[in-house]
């Protein structure tokens, strides 16, 4: 078949881009396919026609159902020919057409005959074709032959059967699983690729049996796996086993690490790289474990093959995110890659350097990047911008040169995504580095003077409105903003009006000038611009230099704490049922619905920059406070004093995972139980926690809030509230039982049955302890703080802590008991020291500041003595601290 296919009419214009398929047309080729029906088959001619049909399919041409059936039946006739070449094309054609179930029956007998042929090539190919087109019932008929083929001495046949097995496992796993003996035998094959395919199939057959996989890996890592591909597979399985064994390398040597490390010395590059990558991806990998992997990757960096350089630099880039230090040894090689022909490699090298670089190398690096930026595509530039942003956050002192760099590239040509990345970065820098604020805002102002993207302009104007008034000279921004009102489209004009109004509201001295500008906007030809201007003019006062009323500020610019989705639903309902009554915004539920899992994954990437809700949720405390204030029953409890870290109430990997967060209010305690249902076949409803507070006498239950519905893998919270004496650090022990109605769920449809069964689940106990009433609040200068407090409030006493393992252990025990913030790094005990002083600071419930000075001493028999000195704003609190220590 190496001869050229010739179409007569093409020959004439051979010089002009000759193609044997020029002018080919589906209808004509389908006509030609009639030769398949000739009584005297011309194998060459038939092969050519099949090639033409395949060419058409390959070019994206489709056959109608009728045409496909027609071609399929014609092709089946060709099984009469004994020409191997033609038969190969027939196989290919059948796979391409993928006949329907009722048509398959026509060819099965021919293919089964080929499967048992003497010719290996027939056997191998017939297996692959047959397995591609048959269903379960037919499969049981040929199963016997497939099992034989798996252990066939011809490697091509064995591989064909094994690979087909991998595909069939997706559709008919119960049949393929019966072949594991044969597959196991094939794993021992001397043929490299058979071993690879057998290993892949065996692993998939057993993938749900962790023990079996672990055994498989243990035995194979000791033996010799011949094929590099199989070796790569084994490395992947090994890392999976390591991951699931969850052994912490800090304490014990990681199992199988030696095997991975040994693979770094394999002769095949693909194995070396796979092993190096596997090591870098180990969880909690130590520097000692990383070093050999980084060494081989470093060698790859100077390889002549771009693929190796790319693979190495990409992996090192990932490592640099978590372990920048070990990667610094590659910096010199990295720097030479900045000029790599392949821009992907260069970009990865730069971003890696930005991650590993130290403060002194920043300026030099920036110079190199400036040259580099002009000749790469936007997508690479975005990566670089993001890397520069994180570098700047790491070295805030270098903000000047980095900010300059960003503003320079902001002026250059670029698409929306690139510009947005730069603006986002500047915004984040302004937010996190106070010194960078003024220069950053001016850069943004200059940018909107000449910005073609409405979205970016409005976002910057909004940001300017929030930040500009707080600067030392807000008036200088007014000009930039008002220019927008004159020159831009309606959307930008409207947001410029809002920004102006914000300046007017926040900066009283600017108010008269802002009013003049706003009045001019009343003649704008756009509704929204006029409306906004009117609103602001009527609410912000009379235009004189007076302070804007706080209520007005809150109304105009306050945060909008109603979830938008809830508002949307309520508004829709309101419109559907027209009423005389005006819409009442307080009727919107404030409860945030827990998002379905899929959605959460999509939003998993934390929005940054302008898109992020301004003040970003900085701490868990903010988030808790928001959740709690959204629940009307708890709104009257006042301000949240402290939320504890979650305490697990269930063992890992049980049916239901529950942990509790203790929220302390002045005279109430709210327990927030975070529940997760880990059983896909169950839906839990009316989930509550029944709390037995008999060992917590001072507490009395005031309310609970159940979870209405707890579907699989979607965490939700139930709350129990207790009243306690005001301002008193009441302590006690609580035992808990999870109570719920369980409904069976059909996992294929996701629908739950109607009838449920009541059930209970025992949870572990937890305690409210004294430390729950003390907030960790650090002070920067303990000595000053200590001396500024009334010496009268000081209470000093000495305690014997008994025999302790070490001084460190004793110090930590006291810190945990008090739940206070160690200051000036005094929680660290220098090794072998006989004495130690630890400084703690915190805020006691009722907003009482407390400082503690602890002096420890340890004697030869490991007995620890402690002197405790407390000062606080309230003498009683000093006594309380002593009581806590005395009773702890």
């Amino acid at each position: 078949m190496a001869q050229p296919l010739v179409k007569k009419d093409d020959d004439r214009d051979e010089e002009v881009d000759y193609s044997p398929f020029m002018g080919i047309e589906k209808g004509a080729v389908l006509q030609e396919a009639r030769v398949f029906n000739d009584p005297q088959l011309d194998a060459r001619k038939c092969s050519q026609v099949i090639t033409k049909l395949l060419y058409l399919l390959n070019q994206g041409e489709t056959f109608t159902k009728f045409e496909a059936t027609d071609v399929f039946f014609a092709v089946t006739k060709l099984f009469q020919s004994k020409d191997i070449g033609l038969r190969r094309m027939v196989y290919l054609m059948i796979k391409e057409i993928s006949p329907s179930a009722d048509e398959v029956i026509i060819v099965t007998s021919s293919l089964m005959k080929d499967m048992n042929s003497r010719t290996d090539m027939y056997r191998a190919n017939a297996i692959r074709v047959l397995c591609r087109i048959i269903d379960g019932t037919l499969l049981t008929q040929i199963e016997r032959y497939l099992k034989q083929a798996i252990v066939d001495k011809n490697p091509v046949v064995a591989s064909a059967a094994l690979v087909s097995g991998i595909h069939l496992l997706q559709t008919t796993p119960e049949i393929v699983k019966r072949w594991s003996n044969e597959v196991q035998e094939a794993v021992q094959s001397r043929a490299a690729l058979v071993q690879f395919h057998a290993l892949a199939l065996l692993h998939q057959i057993r993938q749900n049996d962790r023990l079996a996989i672990s055994k498989l890996v243990t035995s194979l890592t000791k033996g010799t796996v011949r094929s590099p591909l199989a070796q790569c597979l084994l490395i992947r399985y090994t890392s999976q086993v390591i991951r699931e064994s969850g052994v912490n390398s800090q304490t014990v040597d990681r199992p199988f690490y030696d095997y991975l490390e040994g693979c770094l010395r394999h002769k095949a590059e693909m194995v070396i790289f796979e092993a190096a990558k596997a090591i870098t991806e180990l969880s909690n990998v130590t520097t000692r474990e990383l070093t050999p992997a980084i060494t081989v990757l470093q060698l790859f960096l100077s390889s002549s093959k771009p693929v190796l350089r790319f693979a190495a630099v990409r992996t090192l880039n990932k490592v640099a995110m978590t372990h920048p230090m070990p990667v610094t040894s590659c910096n010199i090689d990295m720097e030479s890659l900045i000029s790599d022909q392949n821009r992907s490699i260069a970009t990865l090298a730069i971003t890696t350097l930005l991650k590993t670089g130290n403060e002194s190398s920043v300026d030099r690096l920036m110079k190199q990047i400036t040259n580099f930026m002009s000749d790469i595509a936007d997508e690479f530039k975005i990566v670089v911008v993001e890397a520069i942003r994180s570098l700047c956050l790491k070295f805030p002192l270098k903000y000047r040169s980095l900010m300059n760099f960003l503003s320079n590239i902001l002026r250059e040509e670029g698409g929306f995504d690139y510009k947005k990345a730069i603006v986002d970065s500047i915004v984040i820098l302004i937010r996190d580095i106070p010194d960078a604020k003024e220069s950053g805002l001016l850069h943004l102002c200059e940018f909107i003077e000449d910005c073609e993207f409405t979205y970016l302009s409005t976002q910057i104007l909004h940001f300017l409105g929030n930040e500009g008034p707080k600067t030392s000279d807000p008036s200088k921004y007014i000009r930039y903003i008002y220019n927008r009102v004159i020159l831009e489209n309606a959307t930008v004009r409207a947001s410029a009006v809002s920004t102006l109004a914000k300046f007017g509201a926040m900066v009283d001295t600017l108010k008269p000038r802002v009013f003049i500008l706003l009045r001019r906007c009343l003649f704008d030809n756009d509704d929204e611009v006029r409306d906004r201007a009117t609103l602001y003019l009527n609410t912000l006062g009379d235009g004189s230099v007076t302070e804007t009323h706080k209520d007005v500020k809150d109304f105009l610019f306050g945060s909008f704490d109603i979830p938008l989705t809830n508002l949307e639903i309520t508004l829709k309902n309101y419109l559907q049922n027209p009423a005389e009554k005006p819409f009442d915004i307080t009727s919107v539920p404030r409860e945030v619905k827990s998002q379905p899992l899929a959605e959460k994954k999509a939003t998993g990437k934390k929005p940054t920059g302008l898109g992020a809700p301004p003040p970003p949720p900085t701490s868990a405390a903010d988030a808790y406070e928001r959740i709690l204030t959204a629940i009307p029953e708890f709104a009257s409890f006042g301000k949240l004093f402290k939320s504890s870290a979650p305490v697990e109430l269930t063992e890992a990997e049980t049916e239901y995972a529950v942990n509790v967060v203790k929220h302390i209010f002045d005279s109430h305690v709210v327990f927030q139980y975070n529940c997760t249902n880990t059983i896909a076949e169950q839906l839990l409803e009316n989930v509550t926690v029944v709390v037995d507070a008999s060992e917590a006498e001072e507490f009395s239950e005031v309310g609970t809030k159940p979870i209405k519905s707890l579907p699989y893998d979607t965490p939700a919270q139930t709350f129990v509230a207790y009243e306690k004496p005001e301002g008193i650090p009441a302590i006690g022990k609580f035992s808990n039982t999870l109570r719920f109605t369980v409904k069976e769920v059909d996992t294929s449809t996701g629908e739950a049955e109607d009838d449920g069964v009541e059930d209970e689940y025992q949870l572990e106990d937890f305690e409210v302890v004294a430390a729950d009433y003390i907030l960790k609040v650090g002070v920067s200068n303990f000595k000053n703080a200590w001396e500024s407090m009334d010496a009268e409030s000081e209470r000093v006493d000495e305690y014997g802590l008994g025999a302790r393992e070490s001084l460190t252990e004793a110090v930590n025990a006291v810190i945990n008991l008090l739940g206070m913030q160690p200051c000036e790094g005094t929680e660290v005990v220098t090794s072998n020291s006989r004495s130690h002083t630890c400084l703690l600071s915190g805020v006691y419930i009722g907003n009482v500041k407390v400082l503690v000075r602890l002096s420890f001493g340890i004697d030869g028999s490991k007995d620890v003595a402690m002197k405790l000195a407390v000062r606080s704003d309230d003498v009683n609190v000093s006594d309380v601290i002593h009581e806590i220590v005395a009773s702890g």
Binding site: M1, A2, Q3, P4, L5, V6, K8, D11, Y18, S19, P20, F21, S47, I50, T51, L54, N58, G60, K82, D83, I84, G85, R87, R88, M89, L92, K95, T119, R128, V156, S159, A160, V163, S164, I166, H167, Q170, L193, F196, H197, A200, H203, Q204, L229, C232, L233, Q240, E269, M270, F273, E274, K305, P306, V307, L308, F310, A311, Q341, N342, S344
Partner: protein
């Protein structure tokens, strides 16, 4: 499937980015339009790079693409984002080395189109449904080429009839010129 190295597609394009042979093993590109769009991106973004001496590499839409150009032919192999780059390049190396053997060193568009059947069979022997079947060029070429001799028919007869067919084609060709 997740742990097994897998190939998402194998492409052979000409110097204008037109498809000569393409085989997709992944559902990432469900329609022909999506496939063509992918080929266009890959072609335009790689066109200007020098992938003639060594296999080059790039990333598109969370895929790793390794590629090599020979004369007016562009060879591509695509894998997932986390795929071992060296494995993909081994597949690519096997692909174009096998083509080099099958086309007897004349690796160019015209020759490739005239032997499209060999190229399609070649791809079929390298990857089956995304799983790598074979990466050794000689073995691949051997499997593809072995079919030109029919074991069913006597060897002498076969070669004679083949010779006559070839002669006839050459004759018609020269007559029509």
């Amino acid at each position: 499937m997740d742990l097994c190295p897998s190939v998402k597609n194998i492409l052979l394009l000409d110097s204008e980015g037109k498809r000569i042979a393409a085989k997709y093993f992944s559902d990432d590109w469900p329609t022909n339009t999506a496939k063509e769009a992918f080929e266009k991106t890959v072609f335009t973004k790689t066109q200007k790079t020098n992938a003639r001496t060594e296999v080059e590499i790039a990333m598109f839409e969370n895929n790793v693409v390794v590629y090599k150009f020979v004369q007016d032919l562009h060879f591509y192999v695509t894998g997932g984002e986390d795929e071992n780059e060296v494995i993909l390049s081994t597949v690519l190396q096997g692909f174009f080395d096998a083509i080099d053997i099958l086309l007897r060193g004349n690796v160019e568009k015209k020759e490739a189109l005239e032997n499209l059947d060999l190229i399609l069979l070649c791809i079929d022997e390298i990857v089956d449904g995304g799983i790598i079947l074979e990466t050794d060029a000689t073995t691949i070429a051997g499997k593809v080429a072995s079919h030109s001799i029919d074991s069913g028919a006597p060897l002498s007869e076969q070669t004679l009839s083949q010779a006559i067919a070839t002669a006839r084609e050459h004759l018609t060709r020269s007559l029509l010129k």
